[in-house]
Each structure stands twice: as structure tokens, then as C-alpha cells.
Amino acid sequence: MHRFANPAEFNRLADRILPWAIAVMAISLVAGLYLALIGSPPDYQQGESVRIMYIHVPAAWMAMFTYMVMAGASFVAIVWRHPLAELAGKAAAPIGATFTALALITGSLWGKPMWGTYWQWDGRMTSVLVLFFLYLGYMAIWHGFDDEEKAGRAAAILALVGVANIPIIKFSVDWWNTLHQPASVFRMGGPTIADSMLWPLFIMATAFQAYFVVVFLWRMKLEINQRKLSVMNRAEVYG
């Protein structure tokens, strides 16, 4: 792992992965959107609004996944002082916040025709909203410090404390039996969704995952280059 602490090494690896990730994203996004919007049947109860789910569910998965990436990176940053890990957290946070916002917005758009309300304070929605606030706090703390290195470690501590929210989100639908439906894909005894809807969902999830990889690597490279630039500027001023 410390091999990739060398930014040049990391950049080379990122450049090797990026074309593949972009290709996967493009193909699965086109295929997934076609299947989700045209190629799959409308739901017998929800009608056409079931198509919101193909955006909503992958976005919600990615909201949690991105937080775990951020928390994992923060852990590595604190324990091993890995220089790129803090940047990984910083790069992931806005992507995660966007996914979380997307999940909340699509969920409320779906909720209006289905549940008759844009918003309900049920366990799942409340905990995802908290997740969104955690992302905001994490991003705010990066801007709170003048010293980038201190900001990174403070943000890492905050990210790790916030991990407590992830199991709450995952199990909220089991603990509070309120409005949001329980898990129907990753559950004991197999998924309860018909195959004709499961496939578009998985392809969309792949597209979202590939999108994350692409933007994440772009942002990592950006952060590294920005650091290089500031070091060079400083060298020019003081050198």
C-alpha cells in the first residue's frame, strides 16, 4: 500500500484504471438507462414511477459506500499516516454528499405519488439526512483550518466518529417499522424483486460505481496536482 504513497506511482496507476472505468461507466450507463426507462416493465402497483427506483436505489447504496470509503481512508490516514489517504477522504466527500442528496431528492419525488408526501420523519430518511449533514460537516472542517495537514487529520477523526451512523441507516428499516420499505435486494433468502427489474437495477448500480471510480480518481489527481502546485509556489517565493 505504501508504494502508492508516491504520488507519481499513484498517478500512473490512476491513469491505467481511468480509461477502463470510463468505458464501463459509459456502456453501463447507456444500457442501464435504456433498460430502466424503456426496456423494463412498469410495476403493477407503482406504474411508471417505479423507474425512479433505478436512480434512487443505486444512489442510496453509493451514499453509504462512499462514506465507508471515506471512513476507511480516514482510518488508514490516522493509523499509518498514509499521505494519500487524507486526500482520498477529501476527494470522496463531495461525491458522497451528491449521491446522498440525489437519494433524498429522488426518494421524495417518488414518495409524493406513492406515499402522498414528499417527506416523512421515518428512520431511514432521517438517518440518511443525518448522513448528508455528516458529509457537510466533514467538508466544512477541511475549510476550517489554515493548515492542510491538521485539517486532514481533524476531518479523519470526524469521519470515524460518524461511522456510527452507517449501521443505523442499514438497519433503520428493520428497527423502526415505518414508511420506508425493508431491504428487497440484499436480504436473507434472496431478492424479492422480479428479474426484469433486478437486472436494470444492477446495471445502473454498476454505472454509478464506475462513475464514482472515475470522479474519485479525477479528484485525487486534482488534489495531488494542487499540492504540487502550492509546494512549487512556495519554493518560488521562499527559495
Partner: protein, 226 residues
């Protein structure tokens, strides 16, 4: 000659309690804020007894939480600014022990008075008679989590100029479970459903906060002292 750990702990604890209640300390300010802010709700919502009774527990919990947050702002900052935190870091307790002592002092000196005055505010808010016991119990079980979680935010922002707003942004999302279960316990008791589930969850939040709080605070303080 070395002093035993418990004596050091007690010394920090007593020092912080005395500071909180000396002139300009946070104790009286938090208490005054608590009382004024609760009465603001009575003005804002209007004096209908039923409406006030319905929101009484929620308002008291939210305002207690905000009073706690406001007072936590200075938990480490004064010591950081005048350099005594550097001294405390060298004590045999370690920063974790120092953080634990300061958190306990904050809870005893600033939060317990809020709990003690809560019945009076419950009366202002026309709280139903069966709500008083459970309100006090839920505050007693839940507020330590507020001090513990808030201490992490206070430690993270100790070296940030004007860190108060940033601290609120960091800490408030983490306060939400405490608030939900605390108010849930009171509401359950007044709806005659039994509040033991909410109280148990509230206790769980406090215990998790106890397991994380002092260590995360110490890590954040170490960062500030570098």
C-alpha cells in the same frame, strides 16, 4: 513524589467545576439561556395550553441540547489559549484522562443544573403530570452523551478561530439519535406505551459515546497541540 491518578483526576474535575461557576463561567450562562430560550417558544407558539403541553418535552430537550452545545464551545478553548492545555497534556493521566475529567466536570457543573431546573420549565410549558418523572430520567440518561459527543467537536475545533459555528455543524448531526430517543421516551410514557425501549436505546447511545468520546477528544487535542 507522585500523586495518585485519582487525585489528579479529582483536581482537574474540581478546577473545572469551580471555573464553570466562577464569575463569567459557563454554568450560569447556560442555565439562563435554557430558561430564556424555553420561554421564547411559549411566546412564539402562543399560549394555548394544549399546544404547549404537546411540544413541552421536545422543546425542553432541544433547548437543553443547544444550551449544552453553547457551553461546550469553551470546554478546551480557554485552556488551549492560555497554554494550560500543554501542561495538562503532560499530567500522568494523559490527554484521554484529562478529557474524561473535563467532560465529567462539564456534565456536573453545566448540564446537571439544567436537568434540575427542567421541572420548572415543564410547568411553564404545561407538561402533563405523568411526564415529569420520565423527562428527568431521560435527561439524566441521555445528557451525558451530549457532553461526550460535544467534547469531540470542541476538541476538533479548539484551534480554529471562530470555531463555534463549525463545531455546531459537526456536533448537531451526531446529537440527533440522543434527541430522538430522549423525546421518544417522554412521548411513549405520556402515551401510556411504556418507555423502557427508548430509555434502553438512549442508554446505549450514552455508552457508545462514553466509549468513543474521551479517546476521540484526546486524539483531536493532540492534533491541536502539535
Amino acid at each position: 513524589m507522585s500523586t495518585p491518578l485519582s487525585a489528579t483526576f479529582r483536581a482537574i474535575l474540581m478546577r473545572d467545576i469551580r471555573l464553570a461557576w466562577s464569575q463569567g463561567g459557563t454554568g450560569t450562562m447556560a442555565l439562563s439561556f435554557f430558561m430564556i430560550a424555553v420561554t421564547l417558544f411559549a411566546f412564539g407558539v402562543g399560549p394555548e395550553p394544549q399546544v404547549l403541553a404537546r411540544i413541552a418535552a421536545g422543546v425542553i430537550w432541544v433547548v437543553a441540547l443547544l444550551a449544552c452545545l453553547l457551553s461546550l464551545d469553551r470546554l478546551y478553548q480557554a485552556d488551549y489559549e492560555d497554554g494550560s492545555l500543554d501542561d495538562l497534556a503532560l499530567s500522568p493521566l494523559g490527554l484521554t484522562g484529562v478529557a474524561a475529567a473535563k467532560i465529567l466536570a462539564h456534565w456536573l457543573a453545566t448540564v446537571v443544573p439544567l436537568i434540575l431546573i427542567a421541572p420548572l420549565l415543564g410547568m411553564f410549558m404545561n407538561l402533563a403530570p405523568e411526564g415529569y418523572g420520565i423527562l428527568l430520567l431521560s435527561l439524566l440518561v441521555g445528557t451525558p452523551a451530549l457532553s461526550l459527543i460535544g467534547s469531540i467537536g470542541a476538541a476538533l475545533t479548539v484551534s480554529v478561530r471562530r470555531g463555534g459555528v463549525l463545531m455546531a455543524l459537526l456536533v448537531l448531526p451526531l446529537y440527533i439519535p440522543t434527541l430522538i430517543f430522549g423525546v421518544g421516551a417522554v412521548d411513549a410514557a405520556m402515551g401510556m406505551v411504556g418507555s423502557s425501549a427508548n430509555l434502553a436505546l438512549l442508554g446505549a447511545v450514552t455508552l457508545v459515546a462514553l466509549a468513543i468520546g474521551p479517546f476521540a477528544s484526546a486524539a483531536a487535542l493532540r492534533l491541536a497541540l502539535e
